[in-house]
């Protein structure tokens, strides 16, 4: 199983059972995860994002060799953010980066976003875009952050050949037309961490085809078992289950080589 959506370090508003990297790695292994694409909670709010990415790379090496694959955070509103991309790619050998446009104060029409997509495509790096981190109705009153509007994403991806985007933490069933338009580019994928409604993953698979759905847990902010049980609830056949839980992610990595 490949989990494309886990986070290391500390969530700013709550201690989590899995926020120690040794526990997180042991838990993922015990749940049958063979590879986990790991971002860092530090990348959401820290301004010294270079040190956040350095810690992420180091923790993945130390606590999850062969398991944790680091995806560094990039904030294109920080000065000289291009250097962060370079370090993620050249120094830490990361296969991708993770974005939090809502926490970093830009929307997808920002010129910096287009430049970032271009740079990621040129370096053959996967772009993960987190639409939200938590339910905006229950956020801390001094940290209210609306979700990212991704309605322009299909056009932006279509105009940037070579870019591959994984949308995290989005209930794509809320806007199935948008999900269809996005996946029609052939280069947009959705994780299942926030896909809701009963049988939601199976419904999404019928809307956008299973090839564009990736297993993502949003652990440790979410209970890992949620994504696991969603797959069981979906009742997909073995081939579809294998696609969602493993082979789609492997093919995406292969496509970026």
């Amino acid at each position: 199983m490949i989990d494309v959506n886990v986070n290391l370090s500390r969530w700013p508003f709550r201690r989590l059972r899995g926020d120690e990297p040794d526990f997180l790695a042991a838990k993922l292994r015990s749940c049958g995860v063979q590879q986990a694409w790991a971002g860092t909670f530090d990348g959401v709010l820290h301004k010294d994002i270079a040190s956040a990415n350095a810690r992420l790379a180091s923790d993945c090496r130390q606590y999850g060799p062969g398991l944790l694959v680091p995806f560094g955070s990039i904030n294109p509103k920080l000065p000289d953010w291009q250097e962060d991309v370079r370090r993620c790619h050249e120094q830490y050998k990361m296969p991708g980066i993770r974005l939090h446009p809502n926490y970093h104060g830009y929307d997808l029409t920002d010129a910096a976003f287009a430049e970032l997509l271009h740079l990621a495509a040129a370096r053959r790096m996967i772009v993960q875009l987190a639409v939200r981190m938590e339910d905006e109705r229950t956020q801390h009153p001094l940290a209210r952050v609306p979700p990212v509007d991704i309605s322009r994403l299909p056009d932006l991806v279509a105009s940037e050949p070579g870019v591959h985007v994984v949308i995290l933490n989005y209930n794509s069933l809320e806007e199935p037309d948008l999900a269809k338009r996005a996946t029609a580019t052939g280069r947009v994928y959705f994780d299942i961490s926030m896909v809701e409604s009963v049988g939601g993953v199976a419904r999404l698979a019928s809307e956008v085809s299973p090839e564009h759905i990736l297993f993502g847990s949003h652990y440790p902010l979410f209970c890992f078992e949620s994504a696991q049980l969603k797959v069981r609830e979906a009742g997909m056949d073995q081939a579809e289950t294998q696609s969602v839980t493993r082979s789609n992610a492997l093919q995406l990595l292969e496509a970026m080589k």
Partner: protein, 294 residues
């Protein structure tokens, strides 16, 4: 690093790995529990009839080992139904239950906006009908209003629990939408009746604290993101006897809500209570009175 600290470190790592591994096997233990889901609706379920929708729900429930569903509100998500609308939705629920009498119970949908009608509908559906509880009540009238008292008196007359929707939205609740403060207010006026604070207010870290000192209020964990720590905090602050599993299907999945319990770092005895034991205890008087065997 000394040899002693190195060995200590190895010991700690092993302990962490063991704990995490036990946690990882939580899913396999799901089959050992008798799971009753206290919070289900027929809305957003495929099917043209209540029977078809219930057939679909049971198929999904079977995949996750869920034995019983407590159904309410029918199909409609309108929060301003007329008495005719309430009646129609309650009829939908009773049809679904009739199709699967071994898998579901019905819970009557009422509103303090229509107190006289609500008494009549309670009598039709619970006193003289097959239903076993009240709610989820979720209409444009907060549950702390005086008009709610006659509904609570109905509950007291048959010792049935009341499931009351409650949210605490950081941007403000909808007009007339109840919060856990409203649930506590009505529960304190009627200490002999058992209330379930549905969603625990959504913002559970505040909701749990609000209901903590009101012993006749339990926490329903349904209908919010499967955030780590929710069930652990509820058990710590309320005790496992006051925490109840529910999903809020069809808007939510069984999976995400069940995960809150199965993934929680609590003893299996607590999971057993949360996943069904507590609901069976709350419903025991009415199930006994109606001669339902479970």
């Amino acid at each position: 690093m000394t040899r002693r600290t190195l060995l200590t470190g190895v010991g700690l790592s092993s302990a962490i790995a063991r704990t995490a591994a036990q946690n990882g096997r939580a899913l396999e233990s799901a089959r050992h529990f008798r799971i009753w889901d206290e919070h289900c609706h027929l809305g957003q379920i495929p099917g043209d009839t209540p029977e078809q929708r219930m057939t679909a729900l049971v198929r999904w429930a079977d995949r996750l080992g869920i034995e019983r569903l407590l159904l309410s509100q029918g199909y409609d998500t309108d929060l301003h139904p007329t008495p005719a609308g309430f009646r129609e939705e309650n009829d939908h629920v009773m049809r679904a239950v009739r199709e699967f009498p071994d898998r579901a119970f019905g819970s009557v949908y009422l509103s303090p906006a229509y107190p006289e009608f609500s008494v009549q509908e309670f009598n039709r559906c619970v006193r003289d009908g097959p239903m076993v509880s009240i709610g989820e009540l979720e209409t444009d009238r907060r549950c702390s209003v005086p008009e709610m008292d006659v509904i609570v008196e109905c509950a007291a007359s048959m010792q049935v629990p009341i499931l009351q929707h409650a949210w605490l939205k950081i941007g403000g609740n909808e007009p007339g939408e109840s919060s856990p403060y409203d649930v506590v207010a009505i529960a304190r006026r009627h200490p002999q009746v058992q209330f379930v604070c549905v969603h625990t207010g959504g913002d559970w870290e505040r909701g749990i604290r609000i209901i903590r000192d009101t012993e006749n209020v339990s926490a329903d964990i349904a209908g919010s993101n499967p955030t780590s720590g929710f069930v652990e905090m509820a058990v710590r602050e309320l005790g496992p006897e006051r925490v109840i599993y529910g999903s809020d299907v069809g808007g939510r999945s069984f999976a995400s809500q069940l995960a809150k319990v199965l993934g929680a770092e609590i003893p299996d005895t607590a999971k057993d209570l949360i996943l069904g034991g507590n609901l069976r205890r709350l419903l025991a008087p009415v199930l006994r009175a109606k001669g339902y065997r479970t």
